[in-house]
């Protein structure tokens, strides 16, 4: 893994550590992670509860600063960016799908999908609208674009969230337990969509999960144990 060239690596972590709290209450959530994530691949991060999966994802995605080590995404060292630069970096290079509360309740599904573009101050031009429609089509929510999140099922909400994550064509898409709240049929649907995004759109995807079934959809599986890669 470590021998692959820069050109095919979308993101990498070197000796990544993360420590919460101080003194007696100190928790070592990550204890030296070395990891390369390859372009166009669907990677699943697995491990028992409390093993540091979410923490790793947060650090890789620039949602939190690591305590030590480096994270490089799309050739940029995230540790060198301040909060604003990091935010803009996320806006342009990273997409997210969370377990729940993914969508803003006061916006329609369609508005939620183009939200990342709007945050960047970009006008939603025809190209963007077309892409949004295409994604909605692929994800099977095209007929739901005018609805609010409260009017959508859990699976539909997650698919809208995936469409939103894909709209900016990010270098990396992170999904933290995207199927955690879904039944098995709906889970399968959502996971299929994620896999298609990787295969058909060449999207690099990192998914955190603790369901073995979910991990089978991925190309690579990284297993974590007690803050380390097992």
């Amino acid at each position: 893994m470590r021998t692959t060239t820069q050109a095919t690596v979308a993101a990498s972590a070197r000796d990544l550590t993360k420590t919460y709290g101080q003194g007696d209450a100190q928790v070592h959530a990550l204890r030296g992670i070395d990891l390369d994530l390859h372009r166009g691949r669907f990677t699943a991060i697995m491990g028992p509860s409390g093993s540091g999966k979410s923490t790793l994802m947060h650090c890789l995605a620039g949602l939190d600063h690591a305590s030590g080590g480096t994270v490089t995404v799309a050739g940029t060292d995230l540790g060198s960016l301040d909060d604003d630069a990091l935010t803009i970096f996320r806006r342009e290079h990273i997409g997210f799908v969370f377990q729940s509360f993914n969508l803003l309740p006061m916006l329609t599904a369609g508005e939620n999908i183009v939200l990342p573009l709007e945050l960047g101050g970009r006008r939603t031009d025809d190209a963007a609208r077309e892409r949004a429609h295409m994604l909605a089509d692929i994800l099977g929510v095209a007929d739901r674009l005018g609805h609010r999140p409260a009017e959508l099922s859990g699976g539909q909400q997650q698919r809208v969230a995936i469409a939103r994550a894909l709209i900016t064509q990010p270098d990396l898409l992170f999904a933290d337990e995207p199927t955690g709240n879904l039944d098995s049929t709906t889970s399968a649907e959502v996971l299929n969509h994620l896999r298609r995004s990787a295969r058909e759109l060449g999207q690099t995807i990192v998914m955190v999960t603790h369901e073995r079934d979910a991990a089978t959809y991925a190309d690579d599986v990284v297993t974590m144990q007690d803050g380390r890669i097992a």
């Binding site: 935010t87 806006r91 997210f96 509360f101 945050l119």
Partner: protein, 804 residues
């Protein structure tokens, strides 16, 4: 349930802070009013009672409404000598230095030292005739020092006195500018204004003359106080109205806080119900929480109010030394009242949201929050009720305007306003959307956030709406009244300053000097001649001023007199004028005469104004005897009148000014308006606390959303700006709506109250002031967003995402 109650109180303390502040401010407001009223009352007892402090009896008329006969009072004082102190006044023209004469009040000083109630500031009390003590304020104003000589009275009764001391008078009713010994005082007993109405007596009084009665000093002062303290109670009552407004606003704020809090805790409550808590238990727990907040906040408010009140008394005493306040007793009824109001407000405000909490079924509460819409049964009832209130209110206002009925106007206004408040959830979000659309895409998220819960949006803006409506109505009302009063005053005081030289004509030199005086905008010479008017003892000037409009505030209309008429200023002649408007009089200049009809007017001094033709009929050689002056806008009246008086004195002319009266009236109106605005300001502050509070709670509620937005690429600054925009939208919409309603109310008030009272009044909308109100509200909205926005922006996305 006890553990739940304590735990939730602990967890949510911070969220209750803002609601508590609203309660604290209004309770403190009520208590401060109580302490100050008590201080004013004590001050009155101390000060008004000063003349009777060492007396055993007070002699006054038998009936409260009668006054003691002056001759009776003098007789008692003469008979008892050193054991009596007469209280009376006489008004005398007084000259100090080379200043023009002006009327001053003169009062007696008691012969016995122990009965002298005036406070000696420097020098000594007058001991013999020819000596005087001057009140310090007058001494300051007229630059009188110990050793100076002043001349009291005119003609035969004029007396030169030496100033031997400066005193201060604690009693407003017995206050005089100059104090002299009793025998000196009696010199002026034939003056019309001379009176002695009360006598303080030491020891035995002896035989009482008819019509006089004896009172004990305590009883006497208390009776007097009852009269005057009606006045103080009146002021307390007015203040209470403002306190009531503040209390009402805090009910809105507290109710909103509770409903937001409970909405956020709906899941907790549902969970409690699921694990087996009964409805009753949940209710009780919530009520106890409200009670705890109410007790704590009211107690704090009471303490703050007492502290503030006692701190304010010395401050008021230094700022307004004319109405000294005494050591206030702790006004227990006010304290209890304030505390109770606070507690009741909190309990009442928590009642409605609490009822909503238990109405929701446990399972429904576990679903995410859904917006209220107007289609539900309660929504429709609400809208129907709002419409009913609006229509009734408008009808009442219409009737009020036709019938000039203040009661109907207030009822109509209240009804309209209640209707608007009920319409809030339907109306306010629409307005927010319209306003937000003006901001373009940048404000989209903020707008959507602001309207996502229409009822909360309406409730948040309601408090500010109340304040702005009142403020706008007051501003517009005062501008309208002011314009009307100004116009009336211009008519009553057309000439700012008149220099009159009856004996010799004024020189062009004097005119030039007057024109060059700083603060003079324009001055014109007025031609005339001395004339004998039948029915007047002394000759007066008869003038004509065809070009009066150059200086007159009323456009010169007072000086446009028809031929065959003469217009006289009654005020300038005191009451010595036996002529009445409509009388025909013979006016004679030299050996020429004319029959003229008397017309009345006021505000230009002691001269009769006639038409040019009439004057030509009386004399061939009119000469300028008068200079009329118009002051420029920013001129200091005291300085200008002083300067002109100097010029007039040197030229042997008299001066008559309306400027100082104008300035005083101006100031009164200004003080009134500002006091009202200041008092409303307290309610405004509470309303803003409310907005900050709702926003703060919403920020807590939306922490996950904000984290997600941040993850998606919203920068800290964008997040802060989004929240600030949301607050600004709320406050600006409330302000704009309030401004419209307030101006509407002012118009109704104008049609109902002002127009019938002041016939020349026209509606004035003070656009600049209203603009300032909107601007201030927008800024205040920004300010309200500062803390919540900072708190929201501080959270890192990762931390926000792990919240639930």
């Amino acid at each position: 349930m006890r553990t739940v109650f304590l735990a939730s109180l602990r967890t949510h303390t911070r969220r209750y802070v803002a609601a508590a502040i609203a309660v604290i401010v209004s309770v403190a407001f009520v208590v401060v009013i109580g302490v100050i009223t008590s201080g004013a009352r004590a001050g009155f007892m101390e000060n008004a009672g000063a003349p009777f402090r060492n007396a055993d009896h007070v002699v006054d008329a038998v009936h409260v409404d009668d006054t003691l006969d002056t001759s009776v009072a003098i007789e008692i004082v003469e008979r008892l000598g050193k054991n009596a102190s007469g209280l009376g006044l006489v008004l005398l023209p007084t000259r100090t230095g080379d200043r023009p004469a002006s009327e001053m009040t003169v009062g007696p000083i008691a012969p016995a030292e122990e009965m002298r109630w005036q406070k000696l500031i420097s020098g000594r009390f007058p001991e013999r005739t020819g000596e005087a003590a001057v009140h310090v304020w007058d001494a300051q104003a007229r630059e009188i020092a110990i050793g100076d000589r002043i001349r009291l009275g005119e003609g035969a009764t004029a007396t030169d006195l030496e100033v031997v001391g400066l005193v201060e008078s604690p009693s407003p009713t017995a206050q005089a500018s100059v104090y002299v010994t009793w025998p000196q005082f009696l010199h002026w007993r034939d003056q019309p204004s001379f009176h002695v109405s009360r006598v303080a007596v030491r020891g035995k009084v002896g035989q009482l003359p008819e019509g006089a009665a004896l009172y004990s000093p305590e009883e006497y002062v208390r009776n007097g106080q009852a009269k005057l303290s009606n006045h103080a109670d009146m002021i307390a009552l007015i203040l209470l109205v403002f306190a009531a407004i503040a209390v009402f606003v805090s009910v809105l704020v507290v109710a909103n806080t509770f409903s937001v809090l409970f909405a956020q805790r709906l899941r907790d409550f549902a969970l409690l119900r699921c694990v087996g808590a009964t409805r009753r238990q949940v209710m009780d727990s919530v009520r106890r929480e409200a009670a705890a907040v109410g007790v704590l906040a009211s107690l704090t408010g009471t303490l703050v109010g007492v502290g503030l009140g006692y701190a304010l008394i010395p401050l008021i005493n230094t700022l307004a030394p004319t109405t000294p306040m005494g050591a206030a007793e702790l006004p227990t009824p006010w304290l209890v009242g304030g505390f109770t109001v606070g507690l009741v407000v909190t309990l009442l405000a928590s009642l409605l949201p609490t009822r909503r909490v238990v109405r929701v079924s446990p399972l429904a509460a576990l679903r995410p929050d859904t917006a209220v819409d107007g289609h539900t049964a309660t929504g429709r009832v609400r809208l129907a009720l709002a419409a009913l209130l609006l229509v009734t209110g408008l009808a009442l206002l219409g009737v009020a305007m036709v019938q000039d009925s203040t009661v109907l106007m207030l009822a109509g206004g209240g009804s309209v306003f209640a209707g608007v408040l009920l319409f809030g959830p339907a109306l306010v979000p629409r307005l927010v959307r319209i306003t937000g659309a003006l901001l373009g895409p940048a404000g989209r998220l903020a707008t959507k956030n602001a309207v996502r819960n229409p009822r909360r949006t309406a409730a948040t803006t309601a408090s500010l709406l109340v304040c702005v409506t009142l403020t706008t109505a007051v501003l517009t009302g005062s501008a309208t009244t002011r314009a009307a009063v100004d116009e009336e005053r211009d008519r009553d005081h057309p000439i700012d300053v008149a220099l009159t030289s009856p004996e010799t004509p004024v020189t062009t030199d004097l005119l030039d000097q007057v024109r060059r005086t700083p603060g003079v905008e324009q001055a014109i010479p007025v031609e005339g001649a001395m004339a004998q008017v039948a029915g007047l003892d002394e000759p007066i000037l008869v003038v004509t001023a065809p070009d009066a409009e150059r200086v007159a505030r009323d456009g010169g209309s007072f000086a446009r007199v028809e031929p065959g008429k003469i217009r006289l200023d009654y005020a300038a002649f005191d009451k010595n004028l036996s002529l009445r408007p409509g009388d025909r009089v013979t006016v004679r200049v030299g050996d020429r005469r004319a029959q003229l009809q008397v017309a009345a007017g006021t505000g230009w001094g002691q001269a009769g104004v006639v038409a040019p033709a009439t004057l030509a009929q009386l004399t061939d050689a009119p000469e300028p005897h008068v200079i009329w002056v118009r002051a420029s806008a920013g001129a200091d009246p005291l300085e200008l009148v002083g300067d002109l008086a100097g010029l007039a004195n040197a030229a042997g002319a008299e001066i008559h000014d309306n400027l100082q009266a104008r300035a005083t009236e101006d100031q009164l109106l200004r003080i009134l308006t500002w006091s009202v605005l200041g008092l409303l300001g307290i309610a405004v502050v509470i309303a803003l606390i409310g907005i900050a509070n709702t926003l703060g709670l919403s920020v807590l509620e939306r922490a996950r959303e904000h984290a997600m937005l941040r993850a998606l690429g919203l920068t800290r600054r964008q997040l802060r700006r989004m929240l600030a925009t949301e607050a600004m939208l709320l406050s600006v919409v409330a302000t704009l709506l309030g401004t419209v309603i307030g101006v509407g109310f002012a118009w109704a008030g104008y049609e109902t109250v002002v127009k019938p009272a002041l016939k020349d009044a026209s509606m004035q909308v003070p656009w600049p002031s209203l603009g300032v109100v909107v601007l201030v509200a927008a800024l205040a909205g920004l300010l309200a967003a500062v803390l919540p926005a900072r708190r929201a922006a501080r959270v890192t996305p990762a931390a926000g995402l792990s919240l639930d």
